[in-house]
Amino acid sequence: MQDIDRRDFLRKSLVAGAVLTTCPTWLDAALPDSDLVVARNGAPAEMVRQAVAALGGMSQFVKKGDSVLLKPNIGWDRLPEQAANTNPEAVAEVVKLCLEAGAGKVRVLDRTCNEPRRCYMRSGIEAAAKAAGAEVRHIVESRFQDVAIPDGELIKSWPVYRDAIESDVIINIPIAKDHNISRVTLGFKNMMGVLGGDRGALHDKFMTKIVDINLAFKPSLTIIDGYRTLMRNGPTGGNLADVAQKKTIIISADRVAADAFAMQLFDINPAEVEYLRIAERRGLGHLDLKRVKVKEINFGA
């Protein structure tokens, strides 16, 4: 074996260092540009339908016979007008689109923060999704399974609901809301609803942990419900005066781009949001919206 002399060592270290420091940019450059569709000023269902069509149709994401997990936000014992849970009409429309694309089954579930029945019933999601043909399931505690997250910085494994592990397709349907821990709650935060264990423990060093957790699954599509938007006192809300009628639906297969774009609803510069910067650095998608092709659909015009 050949000995390495000092000069050689220094040279190699410098090269390695340069590679490592520029690596994120490489990763980003390696990712192709993303597509994103934003629909405005329509009813929730028609906006969802048209936006999905503009993105190339649901059959891009859902194949015949696929099992699909829809993950809306059903976290709170609140009514649809209070905008704490995902819009039930939007959820129902996604269910229909999946079934039209030939999905074998579509499941809707969330691990709630308030009492589960209250949340499922009062959010209107249970009734709407069932009527559209989905299986609406309550969380069963024994159906969580530990998932290894080898690339996680702080979280190396976490119990995840089996449907999120076993489904062929995950579609994440968060509602955009004010949230003082993560500034706003969108797609990344919404995926906490398939996590077991003590989720409170994630809130300390939250920005890193929320990205770690999202390494455990890859939603095929993120559909952000910005129809009614809770601007203050989130994520629970309750006061209609805090709800703005933004009438916006944002969809993208790039989960970072979807969350970044949705920051507009709150007049927040996405580059200032720490978890998005971390997510981009780890190669989960584009934070730089110059790398995102945005298609606008306006129903009001």
């Binding site: 009492e115 209250r118 069963v140 003082n180 629970t236 309750g238």
Partner: protein, 509 residues
Amino acid sequence: MITLRRISQILFFALFVLLFLQARYPYETGLPSDLFLRASPLIALTTMLASRAFITTTILALVILALTIPLGRFFCGWICPLGTVIDASDHFIQRKRRPARQRESLRLRSWKFALLILLLVAALFSLQLTWFLDPIALLTRTFTTVLYPMFTYALTGLFNFAFKLQIAEDQVYALYDAAQRAALLPFQQPKFLETLPMVVIFIVILGLGMVTRRFWCRNLCPLGALLGLFSKYRLTRRFVSPACTQCSICQRDCKMNAIEDDYSINNTVECIECAECVSVCKPQAISYRWGVNPGANEIDLSRRRLLQAAAAGIAAVALVKTAAASRNRTGLAMRPPGSLNEDQFLDRCIRCQACSKICASTGACLQPAFGEAGLEGVWTPIAVPRLGYCEYSCNLCGQVCPTGAIQPLALEEKNKIKMGLAFFDKSRCIPWYRQDDCLVCEEHCPLSDKAIKFDIREARAPDGSMRTVKFPYVVEDLCIGCGICENKCPVVGAPGIFVTAAQQKRITL
């Protein structure tokens, strides 16, 4: 007649269980879950005596008391769910009757009257003690804190096992869903404090069946004593025809030991009309008829015993009312929203845990107190936020309280009622003690003008670096003390935010 009685017992017990089970969110059936509690004349009398108020929800109990005058103790023999449980357990414990024991225990019968006098005298001086011994309150409490949690734990275990097998998951889930919809299974496993003493009492009551059948009903039950007093001049009688062969089997088999040595005579104070004697009589000499009983209607209570019991009642009042309680702990006794002021609350609360039962199906904060409410408040409901929180859109506890200790409130009213007030423990709260962001409490605060707000400030972290941290604080005027902040606080052990009874709002009637 015995078949008819058994059917009645089974039906009423089934009704008791059904009403018990459906006391859960969303409580949609419209059936009053506290029906049996409202039907207990003992609860009605002592509560009205202690609170010096007429409580309209107890009208059913007064009807039962009135019916007892002509009909006798039909409630004990045909309706009382604890009596039914004891009958079943006696049957299980004691296959063979032990005739020698039967007449021995006659002396003990006076105990129940003494206990009744004690409870009534205590109630007269505004001390509610009925909760400890009333059979309906006792059974409701035991069902809530012991039997139902045990049952659901076992059933949930069975389902968990089935889910783990990962076979026919859709069918298993359908069953699971059906069990939940039928209220057999709760959404969260109920867990209670104070289960150990409660289960010991229950086991003792059933275990006394090893001494004699219906030992509790014969000798201890103060509700039975009250109904016995009212049924002394009942208009139904046990009629023994001349066909009687004096075989004594009816006396031996009498659950209540109510048949005298002259088998044709029975004690109207003790007889619960169970008709066991009718069915065991070989020559079929026994029947129940309308009419006045020919004799032997004495109440086993001497004047001396009566005075002793009354004195004990007065002593109990003085003892309980003068017991000190730690202020650190009484400050944690947060009552359910809509509770009467503490004196009136204690006059009325019968510790049936009906409120805790229904609470366990939503926020799960209500628990039987031990030291938090002093000696007088043992097993009264308090909110224990580290175990559960008061669900913002829930007002069910007030709807199931049989005595009005918790008043029913409309949701808008309930949302404004302060149960207590939250405080930060800055030596344990994550942003305060180590300058890291957390805000889980603020996230869960259900108020739409959040009672937890925060300042954003530069702070020096333990490692010496400066960082920007969100420091939370409580806005006193907004906080309603629901306790979800304390419940969800991720700090291990004592929480970084906790709720006390400070500023709690109570109702005065």
